[in-house]
Symmetry: C2
Subunit: 180 residues, 2 copies
């Protein structure tokens, strides 16, 4: 699986190349999320990750429709960026025992993933529109809105409960967690 | 250089750990940007990267002030996420000969870097405020606003000139570039 399966000579090749990177990334995310669900303690966070896993599967279907509309085969191309982001999250999570601190770290890791996707889908949408492919752009836009909404939801979960619980735990080790 | 130089037991350790990751990332970015300046063709894009390089140096100084305010030594901790993002950008750029297509790819790569920073600074600011460290949060907020502004500027450059030029080049190979 090449970084880009073909050499990039035209703007069109670039669009398809990044589309393949994002297709690879979404599939990697469906493998990473179940591990994050297992590690999360807060029921709200677990539910958020579970919902995002469902959404990611829908986003993969949507990418396959974009490949089809664009007249090219759905194919993955390795993306070192998402590999590094997932590796960073795993490494950080592996070093934390405290459940509340771990939840805060999992949210931070998930927000790095969301921002990767926000950047990539934003790029693809701009390129699709410039090539006169509003049909592809509109489909990708639906995913972008989902990613932004997930990012905002993670911020709300973090601000409302988890970070505060983690901080209290740090200040008063052994005190009961603040989760319901 | 460990991923986190110390084990993470408390929320405070987590904050310092991510601060060290971002310190490492900003230094990696100061090494990556000159190469991107060399590769860029559009004068507007080159100027944008040069300005961001200056800004990044200021952001490093600001991080050092945050370490000092927080009472801990300024230290880097390897972050596989930024390593992967930079690696992806280099790999993509290495596969493209056409100058206009390359400019479009460089913008996409830079926006991945910006979104990494937006996510990380957003996380650090939220944590600093929750720990009652509004002084650290205010400094980090200045950087976050710069990153968001750079991301928007890159979108404007892409939409106004480069992507369009790349697309025309793809449709009419050999036609003169659209840059001034």
């Amino acid at each position: 699986m090449a970084l880009f399966s073909d050499s990039i000579e035209t703007f069109d090749d670039l669009f398809v190349g990044v589309l393949k990177n994002v297709y690879y990334a979404e599939r990697q995310i469906t493998e990473a999320l179940p591990k994050m669900i297992d590690k999360a303690t807060s029921p709200e966070l677990r539910a958020g990750f579970e919902q995002h896993l469902q959404e990611t599967r829908g986003q993969i279907d949507r990418l396959e429709r974009v490949f089809q509309m664009y007249g090219t085969e759905a194919e993955e191309a390795t993306c070192p960026a998402i590999d590094g982001i997932i590796k960073a999250g795993n490494a950080m999570a592996g070093e934390i025992d405290d459940k509340q601190v771990l939840d805060a770290a999992l949210i931070a890791a998930a927000q790095l993933v969301e921002h990767y996707e926000i950047a990539q889908y934003g790029t693809l949408i701009a390129w699709a529109r410039q090539m006169g492919r509003g049909d592809c752009a509109d489909l990708l836009e639906q995913t972008l809105q989902e990613e932004k909404s997930t990012d905002q939801k993670l911020t709300r979960i973090a601000e409302s409960r988890i970070n505060r619980a983690a901080e209290q735990e740090s200040m008063n080790p052994g005190s009961p967690p603040q989760y319901a």
